[in-house]
C-alpha cells in the first residue's frame, strides 16, 4: 500500500469533483463528473477495494453518466438564469458554515486510527473472522462476496430492494400522465 499514490488519486478526485461543479457548461460538468468517478474507482483499487472500484467504475463512470447526459438532452444544457439571486444563502455565508463544520469534523479525524494500521479496532474486532474463516464457512474465496452475500446477505437484499424502489419511483414519477408500457 503506497500512501503517496492514494493521496495523489484522492487529489485528482477532489480536483475533478470541483471541476464538475464549476463547469459553465452542464455537459462538460457531467464529463468531469465521470472523470471524478473514474478517479474514485482508481483510488479504491489502490486502497485494495477491487470490488468497490469495479462497481464505482461501472456505476459512476458509466451508468450514472449516461443517465445524467440523457437528462441534459431532455432538459437543458446551459442554464439561462433570469431571476435575481434573491433571498439565498450567499457563497460567503455558506463558506463560513462549511469551514465551521470542517473544523469540527477534522477534530474528530485526528483521533482516528492511522490509515493502514493493521491493529485498529476495526481490523481486530469483527472482521478477522470474515478473513480467516470466511472462505471456509461461506465457500467464497472472494471475502467481499462472502460478507456481502452471506454474512450480511440481508443487507444485500435491502440493497436490491433499494434499487427496485428506485425503479418503481421513477416509473411513478414519470408515468403519472401516460402508461409507460405503451411508450415503445
Amino acid at each position: 500500500m503506497i500512501a503517496p499514490l492514494d493521496v495523489f488519486f484522492l487529489l485528482l478526485v477532489l480536483v475533478s469533483g470541483i471541476a464538475a461543479l464549476a463547469a459553465r457548461d452542464l455537459l462538460a460538468g457531467v464529463i468531469a463528473f465521470s472523470a471524478f468517478s473514474l478517479f474514485a474507482a482508481m483510488l479504491f483499487a489502490s486502497l485494495g477495494a477491487l470490488d468497490v472500484a469495479f462497481t464505482e467504475a461501472a456505476v459512476g463512470a458509466a451508468i450514472t453518466t449516461v443517465l445524467f447526459v440523457t437528462v441534459i438532452f431532455r432538459t437543458e444544457r446551459t442554464a439561462a438564469p433570469t431571476a435575481r439571486r434573491a433571498g439565498r444563502l450567499p457563497a460567503a455565508a455558506a463558506g463560513v458554515a462549511c469551514v465551521v463544520a470542517g473544523a469540527a469534523l477534522l477534530k474528530g479525524v485526528t483521533g482516528l486510527p492511522a490509515v493502514g494500521d493493521p491493529d485498529s479496532p476495526s481490523s481486530r474486532h469483527v472482521s478477522p473472522r470474515y478473513i480467516e474463516r470466511g472462505p471456509a464457512e461461506t465457500g467464497a474465496p472472494n471475502m467481499v462476496t462472502g460478507v456481502l452475500a452471506d454474512y450480511r446477505g440481508y443487507d444485500t437484499l435491502g440493497e436490491t430492494v433499494v434499487i427496485f424502489t428506485g425503479g418503481l419511483a421513477c416509473l411513478l414519477i414519470l408515468g403519472r400522465t401516460r402508461p409507460p408500457a405503451e411508450r415503445r
Binding site: 451508468i63 449516461v66 425503479g167
Partner: protein, 144 residues
Amino acid sequence: MKFRFGSPVLDTAVRLLTPFILLFAAYVVAHGHYSPGGGFQGGVILAAALILVNLVHGRDVRWGLRPSTSLSIAAAGLALYVGIGFLAIAFGGTFLDYGALPLGLPPPQVRAVGTFGIEVGVGMAVMGVMVLLFDALMAWEQSR
C-alpha cells in the same frame, strides 16, 4: 432532439462489441465468488450493453426490452432473492440461512450455491431496473 448517432463506424463497433459485453457480464455474475464482481456489477454491465445498443441505433431497432418486461425481470430477480430466503425458512433455518437448503453437499458448498442464487437474482433485478431507468428518462419526450 433526436438522440441517435448511427455512423457506420459506431454501428460496426457496437455490433462487434455487444456479444462480448454480454458474455463478460455473464462471467462477472458467475465469477463473483472467485474474483471481484458479482450480481450487481454483472447486472450493470448487462444493462450497459442494452443501453449502448439503444443509444447508437435509436429505438427503431427492435432490440431491447419493453418497460413492462424490464419491470418484470427486475421483480423476478428480487422474487428469486426473497424466495431463497423463504426457502431457507421452509427447511428449518432462519430467513436467508442458505445452510438449511437440502442439497446434499458439504455445508460451505451449499452456502456457495445459495450465494450464487442470490447473485443471479441481484443481477436480474439490477439489469431490469437500470434499463427501466434509462427508458423512463429517455422516452419521456417522445411520449408527449
